[in-house]
Symmetry: C2
């Protein structure tokens, strides 16, 4: 590359972002060079500040600005209901439904033996302890509907049921507003499996 | 958004990048929060350092780390030949051919009356002065092959020819390795216009 060193360095670090290759990194770099110094500093500062201010909730593992997240600190939530999710960002997805009033438990991943991720790498032990120490009626497992997500759900069900808690899995089936014609086979067979009496 | 403030702020600043919407900004934000503090600081620092260290060459307007770019400072280049390009990044594109040994002149844009970009907003005057003050045989115009790029090339040709310099435009035609069947009409008609004796 015949680019100045500082530019090469910038392209290189921007390439670390997921989904950003050398071409996009180069485009973003030139955008930054066209910004005023104040704007570049504002972006850089927002990155470091977010990292400094945000941490994971000591109870549920979702994002928190001060030790405990807004859900675990909220007295109005149903404390007997836990929703187990893969990533902190999934909290917002569930919250958007406006339907869930329980608490969360973020695993920070799913079981993936090929990547060396076993039960010890995830927040399984904290979940067991939470259920042992608190009065929890039901654990809803909302890991993603794929091989790893399903395997993790199955593992958790076997692990938690002996504790006497009800373990459920969110339903899979046809998306609302979708068309039968365009549904893939797997979704359709799950929709058939999960059929309900009317 | 039920996200902590520092995260909202980060998503917001990352959305300023071209081609990055709220969804991608959120994904990048969560990636940053998963990084170590050192990594985040390294990325932030590379951005500010690039902005601080890099500037545009005082002669040709391409990227430079110290007043003059590596091409303008290179005694081995052909100083009688100028290649006019739109953006600093285009320098590398031309350099990659390994065929060009002249100098560059970066316009930092093209004429675009609808966006309020006229000759005063681009580095036209500097180009005129460069040609007047130096012994330049030929100016190759390599703006993009689209309406604005062609209009800018035409404007420059009319402006520079009275100075007695040869003004050329890079050739447009079928891409090497391409297939006639898949060429669009405009490219094909340009390839016919630009035909050469064999």
């Amino acid at each position: 590359m015949a680019y100045p060193r500082a530019l090469n360095r910038l392209v290189e670090v921007l390439c670390r972002f997921p989904g950003i290759g050398p071409k996009t990194a180069q485009r973003l770099s030139f955008f930054l060079l066209d910004c005023s110094r104040e704007e570049v500093v504002a972006i850089a500062r927002a990155m470091v500040e977010a990292k400094d201010k945000l941490d994971y909730c000591q109870i549920c593992g979702s994002l928190a600005e001060s030790g405990f997240c807004s859900y675990c600190s909220d007295g109005g939530r149903d404390r007997s209901l836990l929703c187990v999710i893969q990533e902190p960002r999934d909290v917002l997805v569930i919250e958007r439904t406006g339907q869930y009033r329980g608490l969360y438990h973020v695993l920070h991943g799913v079981l993936s033996p090929l990547d060396g991720i076993g039960p010890e790498e995830l927040r399984f032990e904290q979940l067991e302890r939470r259920i042992a120490d608190n009065h929890i009626n039901e654990v809803i497992i909302a890991t993603n509907p794929n091989v790893e997500g399903d395997a993790t759900a199955g593992y958790l069900a076997r692990m938690l049921k002996p504790q006497g808690v009800r373990v459920t899995r969110i339903a899979f089936g046809l998306p609302v507003g979708g068309d039968l014609e365009y549904a893939d086979d797997l979704t359709l067979s799950r929709a058939l499996d999960g059929r309900r009496d009317m």
